[in-house]
């Protein structure tokens, strides 16, 4: 069965502490329910939320000496905030799951197939 990465992005200036407590609780509850549904339907592979991009560290070992720097590799307007890895019969099934995921986390969801069968 094909696997898809469903990723959710946050704006670069997103600050989780600025989100009202009740909004955060609502989102947690929605995403929790969505995750339970994924597990019981057999589509669940893995999911995770990420710490803010300010906690990212970049490693570059393409040169003679590895270089470790603070911050993300790509400077972007938006950064990956969290993701699901799901299994679905085809893109339509994946899009149906992504639709529920987007509603649950209240953000746009990008759907990308994994390589290989």
């Amino acid at each position: 069965m094909p696997q898809y990465l469903l990723s959710v992005s946050h704006p670069a200036d997103f600050d989780p502490s600025s989100v009202a407590e009740e909004d955060m609780q609502r989102m947690f509850a929605q995403v929790g329910a969505f995750n339970d549904e994924l597990r019981s339907s057999g589509s669940w592979v893995f999911a995770g939320g990420l710490m803010p991009v300010s906690d990212a560290t970049c490693v570059d070992a393409t040169g003679p000496e590895p270089v470790v720097t603070d911050g993300p590799f790509v400077e972007a307007k938006e950064y990956l905030g969290g993701f699901w890895v799901i299994e679905a019969a085809d893109l339509d099934a994946a899009l149906a799951i992504a639709t529920k995921g987007s509603a649950a986390c209240e953000g746009k969801v990008e759907v990308r197939p994994f390589q290989g069968e």
Partner: protein, 427 residues
């Protein structure tokens, strides 16, 4: 990139022993491409494999038919031969896995999975080609390629882009279908309405490409594409019937039928004949009747949309026994409605043409000039005609020159040249 036939090979030269067979193969490809290909895609679940296998089958047909004669059922022969080629290829390519090959090697034993009321392979293929996950411009190109059997060169012509650009777009679209696992299926009933808008838009574009082919070397009218667009629209109509009235689907079908009905009168010796000069006795009355019935049905539902309004305009035209009897005030009223619902410069241009009949060419010219569609040949042609009617000969000639510079189709060009010639002679 596989073409059904090498595009630069002339069809049926008399001194070419393969000529008659090649001409037959070309005719079969035009007529049956969508059906043969869609059947192969359903069976093998792989568009590239299906296209390559069909291409190989065509080469074999060109080798054998001149010696053995053209088989009684050429499309069936092509399907069987292509399926064998595809199986050979699957056996050779171990990476596809034995399971895949074994499944396909069985004698295409079952009818297509019944995913809906209609199981036509071409309908599944069109919903695949029109999937919202594909870029809009690529949906039409892919539909013309896979269902219409147009070559990449022809589609590139239609879109006014270089052939390499179009080849890349089509390749990318097919890659996305494969890599993202876009299903080859008619969507579930509840998803159909959402997917319908894009499917209708693509069907109308396919019909238009058939009705007035855009390439300078293409046949001015591609009857096969018009017929295919109408056939597929009828099938879409059946699919959505259980969901209650879908007046825009009926509207699109009516629009196509009412335009198609006029086709027999539209060309005379390869030259375009405009609506006002057509021999109305040559119109297909059965199609006109069917179109009018559909338009009346839409009126009863009372949820007008762009296709219904355009169909209604065509119903007014086909209702008039002679061009002079046309109810232009109703045409203008319908275009007013269309401008509120789906305004576009092209709609405004069509409205102005009707205004010219109702309020005179001077009023219409002022409206047309405001639109400034300088790259659109119909805008120049409309201006030219209005200027001619106002007796502004030098301006009219200049406008005809611009129209000729931007027109693509040979029948249209010949018509424009004749009109220009008549104006310069002062007739």
């Amino acid at each position: 990139m596989s073409h059904p036939l090498p595009p630069d090979e002339p069809a049926g030269r008399p001194d070419d022993p393969a000529g008659p067979a090649r001409a037959t193969v070309e005719a079969v490809v035009r007529r049956e491409h969508g059906r043969v290909l869609a059947g192969l895609v359903r069976r093998f679940g792989d568009i590239d494999l299906a296209e390559d296998a069909l291409g190989e089958a065509l080469v074999t047909a060109l080798e054998r038919w001149p010696a053995d004669g053209v088989p009684p059922n050429p499309a069936g022969w092509l399907t069987t031969t292509a399926a064998r080629k595809a199986l050979d290829r699957l056996r050779r390519e171990s990476r596809r896995g034995d399971k895949h090959a074994e499944a396909a090697m069985l004698h295409d034993p079952t009818p297509p999975d019944p995913t809906g009321p209609v199981t036509d392979d071409r309908l599944r293929l069109i919903f695949t080609c029109c999937h919202p996950a594909l870029a809009e411009e690529n949906r039409v190109a892919l539909t013309l390629r896979l269902l219409g059997g147009l070559t990449v060169a022809e589609i590139a012509h239609a879109f006014l882009v270089p052939e390499t650009t179009m080849a890349q777009r089509i390749t990318r679209a097919k890659q996305k279908i494969r890599n993202a696992h876009i299903p080859y299926a008619v969507p579930a009933a509840e998803d159909v309405p959402r997917r319908l808008t894009t499917v209708l838009a693509v069907l109308y574009l396919v019909f238009n490409e058939g009705y007035l082919a855009s390439g300078p070397d293409a046949d001015p009218v591609r009857e096969d594409l018009c017929a295919e667009a109408i056939r597929l629209t009828r099938q879409v109509r059946e699919v959505v019937a259980p969901l209650g009235p879908q007046p825009e689907v009926d509207g699109l079908l009516a629009l196509m039928l009412l335009i198609e009905a006029r086709r027999p009168a539209r060309l005379r010796d390869g030259v375009l004949v405009t609506l006002d000069e057509q021999d109305r006795s040559r119109w297909d009355r059965a199609l006109v009747e069917e179109g009018h019935t559909l338009v009346r049905g839409c009126l009863a539902v009372g949820r007008p949309g762009p296709y219904q309004l355009q169909a209604a305009v065509n119903a007014v035209h086909t209702d008039a026994p002679a061009a002079a009897d046309t109810d232009w005030s109703q045409v203008v009223a319908l275009y007013d409605h269309l401008m509120r619902l789906a305004p576009s410069p092209v709609v405004a241009l069509n409205r102005a043409v009707a205004v010219a009949e109702l309020d005179g060419p001077e009023v219409a010219l002022a409206q047309v000039d405001r639109l400034g569609l300088t790259s659109y040949h119909a805008w120049h042609a409309t201006r030219a005609d209005l200027l001619r009617r106002l007796g502004r000969v030098p301006d009219a000639l200049a406008a005809y020159d611009e129209a000729l510079r931007t027109a693509g189709n040979s029948a249209e060009r010949t018509w424009l040249e004749r009109r220009r010639g008549a104006v310069s002679l002062g007739t």
